[in-house]
């Protein structure tokens, strides 16, 4: 594994940035990892913030679930590591 186990936070730490995009809270959303199939809350993902953007990895298999990069007035969001996100809209 290329990542240092002590260097990550949890999905909660991305909630502020994600609140710019999503109208509902993403940390409580359930998502399925496209690599291993694990279904977990986004808050349980391992979050790496040392990169130019934010990288969320699966807590089970370490596969990248989501990447978020702020570039001036634009945000790039890559969620191909998630099969789905189930958001509670109530």
């Amino acid at each position: 594994m290329s990542t240092d186990a002590a260097d990550y936070l949890d999905g909660n730490a991305a909630a502020g940035d994600l609140s710019k995009i999503f109208v509902v809270d993403v940390t409580a959303a359930q998502g399925q990892c496209a690599n291993c199939g694990a279904i977990r809350r986004f808050a349980e993902a391992h979050l790496y913030m040392q990169a130019p953007g934010v990288v969320a990895r699966c807590a089970v298999c370490d596969h990248i679930l989501l990447r978020l990069v702020n570039a001036g007035p634009r945000v790039f969001l890559d969620v191909r590591g998630l099969t789905y996100l189930r958001l509670d809209t109530a």
Binding site: A6, Y8, L9, A15, G16, D25, T27, E44
Partner: protein, 243 residues
């Protein structure tokens, strides 16, 4: 959406930690356990954002309290804990996070485990429990370096004396009070067995602290048959600053 908060009070919790009370007009209210992002902007336009847990109980008064620990090489925490003054204005975004929260409707036993400044969001839960007169059974296991590093010491004592549904256990990692029975050491299996809810009560567990602390405490809870789905975590990372 960023809102402007005005500092209305400052209170030192320890030699290195300070509680900041903000008045935030149109604050939408929060749930215990949530955090806010704080944005500081320098005169030259450079701006930086940090996340801090909310310490205060949910209220409808438009006040938000954060407790910030000063980190020796931090970019933001030295400013917040040493230079910020009453009347200063900062930008706040939040409240943020809907997973690491305790809601007053929850009635199951609650196990809180804090490492150092990880007490802050858990204190919001304890305060929320008190202000809502909840009868849910709370236990807090609070790991600190030394007695002088305890946040909210008197308030925790008062709350646990007055309310038998909140009990508190301390673990000291470097120095203990005089005649303390347990030598300084990290949280271990014996301490978990002696001070936390047995897993057959199916407590919901909230763990907050540095990443390595949260990892080891999570592993201990799982070793005692607590379900992973009953454990919610919030990590500060190796530096203590979340961003």
């Amino acid at each position: 959406m960023w809102r402007v908060g005005t500092v209305v009070a400052l209170h030192d919790e320890t030699a290195t930690a300070r509680t900041i009370t903000f008045e935030v007009p149109d604050w939408p209210g929060h749930v215990a356990g949530q955090h806010v992002d704080v944005r500081l902007t320098a005169p030259d336009g450079y701006s930086t954002v940090r996340s801090y847990s909310i310490a205060s109980a949910p209220n409808s008064d438009g006040y938000v309290e954060l407790t910030v620990e000063r980190l020796p090489n931090g970019e933001v925490s030295p400013y917040l804990t040493q230079e910020l003054a009453v009347g200063d204005r900062l930008e706040l975004r939040g409240p943020i996070g809907g997973w690491f929260v305790w809601r007053t409707e929850q009635t199951e036993p609650i196990q809180l485990i804090a490492g150092g400044s990880g007490i802050v969001p858990l204190m919001a839960m304890i305060r929320s429990h008190a202000s809502a007169a909840s009868t849910a059974l709370f236990r807090l296991l609070y790991s600190v370096r030394e007695p002088g590093a305890i946040f909210y010491r008197d308030e925790l004592q008062t709350l646990s004396d007055r309310n038998h549904s909140v009990s508190i256990a301390y673990a000291y990692t470097r120095a203990t009070p005089k005649d303390w029975p347990r030598p300084p050491s990290r949280i271990d299996a014996a301490l978990i067995a002696n001070t936390t809810w047995p897993s057959n009560l199916a407590p919901t567990c909230y763990l907050c602290g540095p990443t390595s602390f949260v990892e080891s405490a999570t592993d201990l809870l799982i070793a005692f048959d607590n379900g992973r789905d009953k454990i919610r975590t919030e990590r500060f990372g190796p530096t203590g600053e979340r961003k």
